[in-house]
Every structure is written in C-alpha cells, then in structure tokens.
C-alpha cells in the first residue's frame, strides 16, 4: 500500500501495442513522476472486468502531477490529479 506523500512513477508501458486491452491510465501520464494524495479504496481490476475475466481487487489512488510539463501549458503551481491503480505505479 502506498502512503500519502509517496513519490511514484507511472509505468511507461503500452499494452495498446500488444493487442486488445482496456486501460484506465491516460497516455499522457505514462513515465511521469507524481505524488500519491490518497488511497481511494480497492476495486476489481477493470482491465480484467472489460474482458469478463475474474478480476482481483487492486488499490486505487489519487495521484497528483505538475501540469505544465505534461501539456506544456499552464503556470507553476497548476496541477493534474488522476485516479491510477497501484499496479501502474512504481516508487520513484
């Protein structure tokens, strides 16, 4: 379980290149470093639910990122906060 304040990197992984998939991690965050804000609960993995496969419960987090480097738009202090499943995060 990741604690609030933990620095994390979103895995730079592209299941889209390997065949049919359902991914909830937006492309613009792959490889990005952010900070865990809170654990939102554990939920069945939608990547399996989407194919009607048995789905393990996985932790879901609010993770916050600096906005400007993501879209090269915005001001210092602007932030992007996204829900990301734990299996997409590695400690940074």
């Amino acid at each position: 379980m990741l604690a609030a304040g933990a620095r994390v990197r979103v895995r730079d992984d592209w299941p889209e290149t390997r065949g049919p998939c359902h991914v909830r991690t937006p492309h613009y965050l792959r490889g990005r470093t952010g900070v865990v804000v809170r654990h939102l609960g554990d939920f069945p993995n939608p990547e399996d639910l989407a194919f009607a496969r048995p789905a393990e419960r996985r932790p879901l987090y609010h993770v916050r990122f600096e906005q400007e480097p993501i879209w090269r738009e915005g001001h210092a202090g602007d932030e992007v906060q996204v829900e990301i499943f734990g299996h997409w995060l590695e400690e940074a």
Partner: protein, 123 residues
C-alpha cells in the same frame, strides 16, 4: 515561482519525462488528453437532448448490467474497439449500441442470424 496550492505534497519536477507528442504515441484513439485537435477549441459542455433511441440504449445497458450479462467495463472496452471511422462518425449512444451488440454476439447471448432478422423486421 507561485506557491503550490497543496503545500503538504510538493510535486516533483519532471524534467526527464517522455516528451513525445500525443500524435506520435501508441495511445488508443479514445485516449484523447492533450491531443492537439482538442486543445484548439473549447469543450462543448451544453446539455444534449436525449432521443428515444438514446434512452432505449441506456435502459438496455442497465438491464444487461442488472442481469449480470454485461458490465460497464465491457461496454467501454467495446466502444474503444471501434474503428476510427466508426468512433468519430457515430453518436455517443450509437457507439454504445455497437459495443453492446458486439459483446452480446461474442458471448453468444444473441446470434448473427437473430440480429440480422430483427434488424430486417424494423421499419
């Protein structure tokens, strides 16, 4: 430098992140965040009137969910599997209907023949 709005969580500076433009990334076509064509015009946030078709598709999806035949995750996966021409050519609920019919065919809840016959009987 403006002070962060959330001083409890100083955000890391992400200097080494991948800067490949969205157009060049192997993203799925529905994964549109930051794609330039959608950054040049404001998002249409006006409420859209629902047609009778829209309501029927929504009701069908809810019934399939309640009966455990098809989840919203399967619906989303089905919408994401549409070809680019279909994805951008169909309305929101038309996309849903395509995803629902493809899922029900794949799971053998309905057959191709049943779908074809039903469509041919429609006015």
């Amino acid at each position: 430098m403006t002070a962060a709005r959330h001083p409890g969580y100083p955000l890391p500076v992400d200097e080494n992140a991948n800067q490949t433009p969205p157009e060049d990334r192997p993203r799925a076509r529905h994964d549109l965040g930051g794609v330039s064509r959608f950054m040049c015009e404001p998002v249409d946030t006006a409420p859209h009137a629902l047609t009778a078709f829209d309501r029927q598709v929504d009701a069908l999806r809810q019934i399939l969910g309640m009966k455990g035949i098809m989840s919203v995750d399967e619906l989303r996966r089905g919408v994401e599997a549409l070809t680019e021409a279909e994805y951008f050519g169909l309305s929101y609920y038309q996309r849903w209907m395509r995803a629902i019919s493809a899922t029900l065919l794949r799971k053998s809840v309905i057959t191709e023949a049943e779908l074809r016959n039903t469509l041919s009987e429609m006015p």
